[in-house]
């Protein structure tokens, strides 16, 4: 795609690389818009200062909404597994693959993302370390929420109270982890100025070639070449 610069005859060509399928983007947004009301309706029972919303009819409606959105939230991975199982397995495999570059990435993440220093980051595959950690937490969260929430929903009164009490605590602990993670994910994807293309990719399914080269070198160049380039770059930097 070429973009003509305003007020000039110059044009620049941008090469876009597909990152997500249409279904992945659609399900991502369904997941997002299920998670937000799910978290907020859960938060009403979580925080004492939200008590007026937990009381009376408001509380009854919010608890019902929590259940409906929970089904939507839990249904997303099932739909994904049914419609694009190979793609899902590929992503899952990628989420669970970590290398020495991930430690270096984590080390460099604070000055890079928080302080905004334009330093070099180690090469990353299609999903960087942060994205993969987020995905792993989300997968664990979905399993824990399902395994604790469904018995709390349908088996209250017929399961031992001690077990119910454990489930309530696990449900809340998982909520703390996933909601904190969601806040960070939202900030990096929507607010952070250096990551504007992540939002574009979830809207249009593509990232620019230059973005892929800088942020996902292993995906763009392949693992061998990305590693060579990184090592060469590091060696030059030391001299």
């Amino acid at each position: 795609m070429s973009v003509r610069l305003r007020g000039t005859d110059s044009a620049i060509a941008i090469r876009w690389i597909p990152k997500y399928t249409t279904l992945e983007r659609f399900l991502h947004w369904v997941h997002t818009f299920a998670f937000i009301p799910l978290a907020l309706t859960g938060f009403v029972l979580f925080a004492p200062w939200m008590q007026p919303l937990a009381q009376s009819s408001a509380g009854i409606y919010l608890r019902a909404l929590h259940r409906v959105t929970a089904l939507l939230f839990g249904g997303v991975p099932i739909v994904y597994a049914l419609l694009q199982p190979r793609r899902m397995m590929l992503n899952m495999k990628e989420f669970l693959t970590f290398s020495k570059y991930d430690l270096l990435w984590l080390k460099g993440a604070f000055p890079y993302y928080v302080l905004g220093r334009h330093t070099d980051m180690p090469p990353q595959p299609r999903f960087n370390t942060g994205e993969r950690l987020t995905a792993v937490v989300l997968v664990i969260g979905t399993i824990v929420f399902g395994a604790t929430g469904l018995p709390m929903w349908f088996l209250k009164g017929s399961m031992p109270v001690g077990l119910y009490q454990v489930l309530v605590i696990l449900h809340d602990l998982m909520f703390i982890v996933t909601f904190a993670m969601f806040l960070i994910h939202f900030y990096l994807a929507v607010v952070h100025p250096m990551m504007w293309q992540s939002l574009v990719s979830m809207r249009y399914g593509v990232v620019s070639e230059s973005y892929a080269r800088v942020h996902h070198a292993i995906w763009y160049y392949g693992e061998k070449r990305a590693r060579q380039m990184w090592e060469q770059h590091q060696a030059e930097g030391k001299h």
Binding site: Q55, I60, K156, Q165, A180, L183, M194, V214
Partner: protein, 296 residues
């Protein structure tokens, strides 16, 4: 229901007041009064279940199907429509098989777990010792049913799928007590097995009764609830060890409730606050340091 003229006038006044006040005012704020308690004396109980009937009548509770598996207890357990129940246990005392009756219902704990886990304040601990319940505030979460050490509150479920429900339990006839009347079950007891009044007086009364029973045919007689869970509001004079009545020997405040409400949830709020503040600070730092012309 019989009522003297003074009681009738008091109740009429309260009823008129309730017409002009909102639902929250139906349970009047109970001031710094002395703690009240019910005393149930097993040695006097004849198991007539008048207390059960009185509870249903005053609180307008619906009928409950009986369970043929239970020979005497009817219904077999507390239900959303049976807040008071005469339970039955068989126990050998002095080589004689005895029937032990027990008046079951909310224990009105001094330190109630149900109140600690209630997210709506529908359940409240009042200064006079009552654990009151405001049905209008209840959202049916059912946490009270899962954390009560005595397994007393019951959930009336209208829709399992949508989670529409209301909790229920004995309130010691909170509306009557607020109008200086005794709980209706106590008024109905023909055997004098139920008594009501200042908790200290009830304990003294119970202790002297226990001594008398011990000196007689019941060496295992004991007082249940004096110091349990901050002191129970429903005290029992028992003829046999508590376990013979299926009562927990030494119930404690559920550890899970403390962990959940005092550690996990406050820690979560701190974590969310810290993350939000951190991100806000990071946003201003990044905005100052990032040169957009260098961003890919």
């Amino acid at each position: 229901m019989t009522m003297d003229r003074r009681s009738f006038l008091k109740l009429s006044g309260a009823g008129l007041g309730a017409v002009f006040l909102d639902s929250a005012a139906v349970i009047p704020a109970l001031g710094a009064e002395k703690r009240l308690a019910m005393l149930y004396d097993n040695s006097k109980c004849i198991g007539c279940r008048a207390c059960q009937m009185a509870c249903k009548q005053w609180n307008k509770l619906g009928p409950v199907s009986t369970d043929p598996q239970h020979l005497y207890e009817s219904p077999g357990d507390l239900t959303p429509d049976a807040w008071t129940l005469i339970g039955l246990a068989e126990y050998k005392v002095n080589d004689r098989r005895n029937w032990l009756f027990i008046n079951k219902g909310c224990m009105h704990c001094g330190n109630p777990a149900c109140v600690a886990v209630c997210p709506t304040s529908a359940l409240k601990k009042q200064p006079n010792g009552l654990v009151t319940y405001d049905r209008g505030l209840c959202n049916g979460c059912g946490y009270c049913t899962q954390f009560c050490p005595f397994h007393v509150p019951r959930l009336q479920v209208s829709s399992q799928f949508a989670g529409v429900a209301k909790s229920s339990k004995c309130t010691f006839c909170q509306d009557r007590v607020a109008n200086n009347l005794r709980p209706f079950c106590i008024q109905s007891c023909p055997a004098g097995a139920l008594d009501w009044g200042d908790r200290g007086t009830m304990i003294e009364q119970a202790k002297s009764r226990v001594e008398a029973l011990k000196a007689g045919d019941f060496p295992q007689a004991n007082l249940y609830g004096e110091n349990t869970l901050g002191g129970l509001g429903r005290l029992y004079v028992l003829l046999a060890p508590p376990t013979a009545y299926s009562l927990p020997q030494d119930p404690g405040f559920p550890f899970a409730a403390t962990l959940w409400k005092k550690v996990v949830q406050p820690a979560g709020e701190v974590a969310f606050g810290a993350v939000l503040l951190g991100l806000l600070a990071a946003f201003f730092v990044v905005r100052r340091n990032v040169h957009m012309e260098e961003v890919e």
